[in-house]
Assembly symmetry: C2
Homo-oligomer: 124 residues x 2
C-alpha cells in the first residue's frame, strides 16, 4: 500500500501471475478429484520428491504441451500446487503447508499410498 504501485506493472522477475484459490476456498472433493488422475498423481509425486523448483517442461510427461498445461491448471485450481512465472518458465510447487493445515496428514497418506502401490505394481 505505502509504495503506491501504479497498476500495469506486473512485477520484476515474476512476469504475469496466476489465480490461486485461497486456503479457505480449497475443497476436499476437488483435491481428491485432482489426485485421482494418473497423470496428475504422477506430477504431484514427482513434485513431492524433487522440491518446488520444477518447471512444467521438466516432467517429460507422455502427453502434448496442451494437455500438460491442462493438468497443471487443474492441480492449481484445486489448490494442490502453486505456480509462479520465472522468466519464460513456470515453476511449480506443492502447497504442502496449506493442505496440511486444512487436511492434516492427507497429502502424506496419499503420497505414501501411491508409493506403496507403485512398488506393488512394479511401475515405480
Amino acid at each position: 500500500m505505502t509504495t503506491a504501485a501504479p497498476a500495469p506493472v506486473p512485477a520484476a522477475g515474476g512476469g504475469r501471475d496466476l489465480p490461486h484459490p485461497a486456503p479457505e476456498e480449497i475443497r476436499l472433493e476437488s483435491v481428491l478429484h485432482a489426485l485421482s488422475d494418473p497423470m496428475r498423481l504422477r506430477i504431484v509425486r514427482e513434485l513431492a520428491v524433487e522440491g518446488d523448483e520444477l518447471s512444467c517442461s521438466q516432467f517429460a510427461l507422455p502427453v502434448t504441451k496442451s494437455t500438460s498445461t491442462h493438468h497443471f491448471r487443474v492441480l492449481r485450481e484445486a489448490g494442490v500446487i502453486h505456480q509462479v512465472y520465472r522468466g519464460t518458465a513456470k515453476m511449480n510447487g506443492l502447497r504442502k503447508d496449506d493442505l496440511d493445515a486444512l487436511f492434516p496428514g492427507l497429502l502424506d497418506c496419499v503420497l505414501t499410498a501411491a508409493h506403496r502401490q507403485s512398488l506393488r505394481l512394479g511401475d515405480g
Copy 2:
C-alpha cells in the same frame, strides 16, 4: 465341486452375490475418484459412523434410486465398500481392513478431512 449343484441355485440365506475387487486389485486412483464425489463421500462418512449394517435405503440421499444404485456400485467396484444381500435389502460396509492394509491411514485422513471441512463450511 463335490456337491454338484445344478447351477441356478444362488445360495441359501444370502441370495445373489456381488462382484468385489480383490485387495490386490484395488487402485488408489479409483479409490480417490470414488471419494471425490460429494454424494459418495457422504455415504462413506455415514458408513464410518454408523457401522456396516446399513441398507441402501437407509441413507435418504437426495437422488433417485437409480442414482443411488450407481453410486453404491462405484464405491463397491473401487473397493471402498462391500455389499451383501440380506433378504430384500442390501447391506453395506466399509472395507476398512483392506484399505488400511493397502493405504495405511488414508481412509482416516479423508474422513477427518471431510469432518473438518463440514464443520468449517457449516454443512455438517
